[in-house]
């Protein structure tokens, strides 16, 4: 019998044998995600299995986009793609395993956010995004559920199934990207030429959501999304956003007045609101970039970003373990010199909400 001379085939078989799927941890639109192990190193990993069999055009575009972009991106705030292999008719992506995501944390109402927590999450999100943008890659699906959090507190951009490179400005892109609540106004108006601004708008919405603990612009339909947006931020005029009226799906809306952000975000400081506002500028050309945002005074002013190890964590734990932990925390509260104690004390002290 002929031996396998194709080295790549051999390599693929070797990788496949080195990984074992243990348990399903998530399911997305086109993939199932498992927690698993690399047998040779005992390392815990996530394995994202993409079913190819169902696609008549072979390897599907989401898989291609995700693999293509993640292969080129190496950054502490971008999920690491460790290996890729085929098995039967499935494509498997081996990713670093991350405990939870920002959506879980936002929804876990037992956790109180400190301004320094929000600042550090924003910082990590922007660093990851800046790295993508510097590599001419648009993420196009920024939302809390795609920002994964590691046990050590690191936040990482994940789910690059919609990502694409953005080298040529004149190329036509699809407006059907980004989950509705985080979708930029130019996309809602059907723009076919857009850029980094769509990711920044989404980050602005996430920023607001972290401050409010609720989705900021939860529209029910695309039309309602625009209405919700304009009620919150005022209806833009052609002067605010030159070129708006010539976008493909532009429609005239009722003229809502612009209400200052501080009326809704009562607890947020002036620098916080200024950064938020510059992310939610209607005109994509005037919207802040990731790099500029990272240099915004918000990140240099007090309070400092909460150290990684002290950031709130959402751990999937048994009810017993949770009860024990709460007890321990209550005890710690008496010892205000301990890190947890300080944390608990700060949670009770809302004067820190500048």
């Amino acid at each position: 019998m002929a031996s396998i001379r194709n080295h790549a085939e051999q390599h693929n078989a070797d990788i496949y044998r080195d990984y074992k799927k243990d348990k399903k941890v998530g399911e997305g639109a086109y993939a199932v995600v498992y927690v698993g192990r690399q047998l040779s190193t005992k390392k815990v990993v996530a394995i994202k299995k993409i079913k190819i069999g169902q696609f008549k055009d072979g390897l599907d575009m989401s898989a291609i986009r995700e693999v293509k972009t993640l292969q080129e991106l190496r950054h502490p705030n971008v999920i690491e793609l460790m290996e890729v292999y085929f098995h039967k008719t499935n494509l498997n992506l081996v990713l670093e395993f991350l405990e939870s995501d920002l959506e879980m944390i936002i929804k876990d109402k037992s956790i109180v956010f400190m301004p320094g927590d929000v600042k550090h999450w924003m910082l990590m999100t922007l660093r990851g995004l800046d790295h993508c943008h510097r590599n001419w890659i648009l993420h196009r699906d920024m939302k809390p559920n795609n920002l994964l959090l590691g046990r050590d507190g690191q936040l990482k951009l994940a789910d690059f199934g919609l990502a694409r490179d953005f080298g040529d400005r004149n190329r036509q892109l699809t407006a059907q990207v980004v989950t509705r609540w985080y979708r930029a106004p130019e996309l809602l108006f059907g723009a076919r030429e857009y850029g980094y601004g769509v990711d920044i708008w989404a980050i602005g919405c996430i920023f607001a959501e972290l401050l409010l603990r609720n989705p900021y612009l939860p529209g029910n339909t695309d039309m309602d999304q625009l209405d919700t947006m304009f009620r919150a931020l005022g209806t833009p005029t052609e002067a605010d956003w030159p070129g708006m009226e010539s976008l493909p799906n532009y429609i005239k809306f009722k003229q809502y007045p612009k209400t200052p952000l501080r009326l809704l975000f009562t607890a947020a400081g002036a620098d916080t609101l200024e950064l938020l506002e510059s992310m939610l500028i209607y005109d994509p050309n005037r919207r802040i970039s990731a790099r500029e945002a990272l240099l915004h005074p918000y990140f240099f002013n007090k309070p400092r970003p909460t150290p990684l190890e002290n950031l709130p964590k959402h751990v999937r734990e048994t009810p017993e373990a949770a009860k024990l932990k709460r007890k321990a925390e209550a005890l710690d509260a008496y010892d205000l010199t301990s890190e947890d104690g300080k944390r608990l004390a700060r949670r009770l002290d809302f004067t820190g909400m500048s």
């Binding site: 291609i64 693999v67 990590m124 190329r171």
Partner: protein, 326 residues
């Protein structure tokens, strides 16, 4: 001199640490520093790419690899043909295996087919270039005696249309090429594996445009510069049929192409591109040498290719032939 370093401080002391050595309040000085900064960062970015980290070779390494793959395949096919005929003595008389140069000549023919078809479809040059580089990478560790270049070519074209976001569905694609969908879909996994799932390929076209913009800023003869640029693009098209994509960086190939085009148009290259310093010169000269002397820059005669293809049919591995009894 100032440098920006990515902040590794996980506690997030500062979002981006900017360290400035001297107090260069002078605006021009700042602008210059910023320019250098941009270049340094772009270089660093390129050095993180899969292309830089996995697909760079020396000419000697390329030659060795190809010889090894060719020799191994011949040994294996000989044995398999022998087994099929029950003894090695029974090898057909007219059996003559392909040499590496012949394999490359055949691939050159199919590379130019890609160019023709993609031009017909009005696809941008970098999409064509991506399909060609996919095929080149595939055949670094494989031989045409195992996988016929026509099938691999179609698969690389189909894949490049996806990775470059100009997707065409399989029915339209195969109808246009008079092929069977299965011929492509069966090979797609294998091609992906051989590409090590690295789908991003950087080409000289984009840096060439960048240099063109830079040169525009200082030119006093826009018309001639335009001709230089167009000639450089043609040279880049030609470079796709050589090994240059494995040997040099896209920006180096772009600059070398511009330099040759400048000479041909008697356009002053040195003074308009001073900032690309002398250390680059040997690199530019070796690229120029390839572009001017490599036989693969010229299309081979159709009859030569037909003869190679005819011989290829006799020396295919029966173990990879579905009609064989093996």
């Amino acid at each position: 001199m100032s440098t920006v370093v990515e902040n590794k401080d996980t506690n997030g002391a500062a979002p981006l640490t900017t360290t400035s050595g001297s107090s260069s309040s002078d605006q021009a000085e700042n602008a210059k520093a910023e320019g250098q900064l941009k270049e340094v960062q772009l270089k660093q970015l390129y050095e993180q790419s899969t292309q830089y980290n996995h697909w760079r070779y020396t000419q000697a390494a390329l030659d060795n690899l190809r010889n090894k793959v060719n020799q191994e395949a011949i040994a294996c096919i000989k044995q398999n043909i022998g087994e099929e005929r029950l003894s090695v003595d029974g090898l057909p008389k007219d059996l003559s295996f392909l040499k590496v140069e012949e394999e490359l000549a055949l691939l050159g023919f199919y590379e130019r087919k890609i160019v023709q078809i993609f031009q017909h479809w009005k696809l941008p040059s970098h999409t064509t270039a991506t399909a060609i580089v996919y095929m080149k990478r595939f055949y670094l560790e494989n031989t045409v005696m195992d996988y016929h270049p026509k099938d691999v070519m179609m698969t690389c074209m189909f894949l490049a249309r996806k990775t470059e976001n100009v997707l065409m569905n399989i029915e339209d694609f195969t109808k246009a090429l008079k092929a069977l969908p299965s011929a492509i879909l069966n090979l797609e996994f294998l091609v992906c594996k051989n590409l090590r799932f690295h789908f991003t390929v950087h080409h000289p076209y984009r840096p060439c445009l960048g240099f063109f913009y830079d040169m525009q800023a200082v030119t006093d003869n826009m018309e001639r510069l335009q001709r230089v640029y167009e000639a450089a693009l043609k040279l880049i098209d030609t470079s796709l049929h050589t090994d240059l994509c494995f040997l040099y960086q896209p920006s180096q190939i772009a600059l070398a192409a511009l330099r040759i085009a400048c000479q041909d148009e008697s356009y002053d290259f040195e003074s308009t591109t001073q900032k690309y310093n002398q250390t680059l010169l040997p690199i530019l000269e070796s690229i120029e040498n390839v572009l001017k002397t490599d036989p693969r820059c010229v299309e081979v005669d159709r009859s030569v290719v037909q003869e190679i293809d005819r011989r290829l049919k006799t020396c295919k591995d029966p173990a990879k032939n579905p009609e064989s009894l093996m």
